[in-house]
Subunit: 214 residues, 2 copies
């Protein structure tokens, strides 16, 4: 299996966590996003969209991180990254999508670039934007994790799953600017630390990847 | 079952299509988004996040449109909205997420509001932004729908499914501004018309909802 991604991509990071939790061997192909390598003809032939990641599994190409993780969960069911009942599965997917749909796309590199040019905003304004959407998302996620009895050591129960695959990269992403205030999110941060203590998750961190830069 | 939504919400529209395709009876609770009714204490108690939709199924509350549709597909399997093999399921989820993650969140009302205030952009600049992200997403989706053999009368084969639940509202959304150029997207538009010819989908359109306004 080959993961087409980038060490700093949050979406690729989600998939690395899933692959590692499942103990799947994979190689990585790296596309330097700031150098626009995701727009190369070779990558576009593969994925149609200049966004990483894409998973290559034999002749199969799957794009979109959540679709990839569900694909892995269906093709490599052990350990499961989704619980077994429809209602618990809905909870986990919903938490994952609160990150993958409500936070991350608005703070993605291409959007921040558009704010800089053509819109002409300075770094400070873009940083405020960046933190704003994380805060709105984290406010809602923190509240759910606190009030819902299904929360355990991880987002859902005591084993890491799809929601944790999304939460960890989003916390790392929020740390990009020292100005993000994590104090209102003790539950998110407790789960983040629990995740970081899992070697399979820790090995998926950006700085551990072969294409990592300082 | 009760769908908490709004006639103009694309994400609620996706769920209405799924409910109608499955022939599930449901009532609707409407939150006027421009009047900020999604911030009401009652709605936040229900969903934790001031975003619609949320599905109430007895004591169960599910938020996030894609999580809701997968929940419906698991609890009401006929007709299925996802195909049966992992690889086909991944294709459909990936197409759905190319809309639900890569286009819609960046063009959502709250983001457009932020561009207007505090960022101070005028309507023309916001319209250009709006169209820009749809164009990028549609470019990639059109290409996939054309080159992938699994495309049929609908996004995947000859029955409507999860990807169509996302495609139809996104096309309706793109029509909001007369300036969006649909000519590069004959496959998307062919599928949109095929969907509109399905009475269950047509009944989910915004203007058919009890809370519709002119």
């Amino acid at each position: 299996m080959k993961l087409h991604g980038y060490f700093r991509s949050s979406a690729a990071f989600r998939v690395r966590i899933a692959l590692n939790l499942k103990g799947i061997d994979y190689e990585q192909a790296s596309y330097h996003l700031r150098n626009n390598e995701q727009f190369s003809a070779a990558y576009l032939r593969l994925s149609a969209s200049p966004l990483v990641p894409a998973l290559e599994d034999g002749a199969e190409i799957v794009s979109q991180s959540l679709a990839i993780i569900e694909f892995l969960d269906e093709t490599h069911p052990t350990p499961p990254l989704l619980p077994s009942t429809p209602s618990a599965r809905a909870r986990v997917r919903s938490l994952a999508q609160m990150i993958a749909c409500d936070i991350h796309p608005i703070d993605n590199l291409r959007v921040l670039r558009y704010l800089a040019k053509p819109l002409g905003h300075d770094e400070k304004t873009i940083e405020t934007w960046f933190n704003h959407w994380i805060k709105l998302g984290f406010d809602a996620i923190e509240q759910r994790l606190r009030r819902e009895g299904a929360t355990g050591r991880f987002c859902h129960g005591d084993t890491p799953g799809l929601a944790d695959c999304c939460l960890v990269p989003q916390v790392v992403n929020a740390k990009r600017h020292a100005s993000f205030d994590f104090r209102p999110y003790p539950t998110i941060m407790r789960i983040f630390e629990a995740c970081r203590a899992v070697p399979a998750i820790e090995r998926a961190f950006p700085e551990k990847q072969p294409d990592a830069e300082a």
